[in-house]
Amino acid sequence: MALKLYGLPMSTCTTRVLACLHEKGVDFELVPVDLFSGEHKQPPFLSKNPFGQIPVLEDGDLTLFESRAITAYVAEKFKETGTDLIKHNNPKEAALVKVWMEVESLNFNSAISPIVFEHIVGPIMGKTADQAVIDANLEKLGKVLDVYESKLSITKYLAGDFYSLADLHHFPYTHYFMTTPWASLVNDRPHVKAWWEDISSRPAFKKIVGAMTFGEGK
């Protein structure tokens, strides 16, 4: 039976999971959730994710939420097929993947997501972008990317010389960030730029990137 993923093809957290599913070559069905009518905040959906957020994965009677828990599950369940995203046969490399997944989840995400929200998502919801929030987070993001620049001058990918879930998790927000006026934060750092061009050209991402637009027509 195929996996069911509840979410939307332009949502950052849904695309984090979609990328993983494509890397593993796993069959799945994408079930749209109508955010505009508030479907995600109402009882049938809340029984799947009490926090009322997409995505949700159903695998038979198992229901999971939080995109990074879902990708960890998919990468583990299908570890013998598709791309090896978690280095399950090498405990040291597996540990380094976990380190850089936490870096993305905490250091990187906390700086980049307010920028994407304020500049792209908020205006679609009728909110004016708060430039002070953007500026503060651009500074934070710059410092994080300085560390990435050093790391990526030593290893080809974040956890080592191998592509992993740690790199994949960066895809959705970085994709949207590169459409903002501040893409130079990536482009001015040669190793970060090369890493981004490498990972964003992967076939798994090419399958989902076409739908990654909020229709703002810019």
């Binding site: 939420f65 939080e66 828990a69 599950y73 583990e76 380094l96 380190v99 870096v103």
Partner: protein, 215 residues
Amino acid sequence: MAAIKVHGNPLSTASMRVLATVYEKEIDHEFVFVDMRAGEHKKEHFLSFNPFGQVPALEDGDLKLFESRAINKYIACEYAVKGTQLIYQDSKKMAITSVWMEVEAQQYDPAASKLGWELAIKPLLGMSTDTAVVEENEAKLAKVLDVYESRLAQSKYLGGDCFTLADLHHLPTLHYLFGTQVKKHFDSRPHVSAWVADITARPAWLKVLALLSQQ
């Protein structure tokens, strides 16, 4: 066998998170004190362990790790046979535990750590509390705890029937919050309150608190 070294500071919530795991797993270890007041965590030697200049860091032989939750996941897997089981071997149970580990990091900790900083740490440093930040984050925390209350009404621990990292990861911020006005949000929710009482009474956690009280 090379000993595990934990580089950290007992006052740091993230260091406490790793120490709790090391005690639960009953692993021989050396605790290497990082003098944050002297800025040791921002100097070259420590930066070679964690380029972000944050405690804690772990050395296990030639492996160097940082990020407390990654360190804990590594310890729980690598030392699975020792001490308390902190993760599940069953893949479905582990998946559910992963979900609630993410909940702690993404939904609970942002509000909890801001409140801990404003209400517990800033006063110790002679800084004034930002009441707007407190109000905003108390409201956020209350909503998260409503979800926890429902979850813990169906499940003894967040990940399932057993205590796991999904519960343990909350201990350090709980410790700071319980000395503040935020305690009432936990006390007023019976299942949350019972869960807190249970996990904070664990011997391994009491050892962490004993270390902290020596500072």
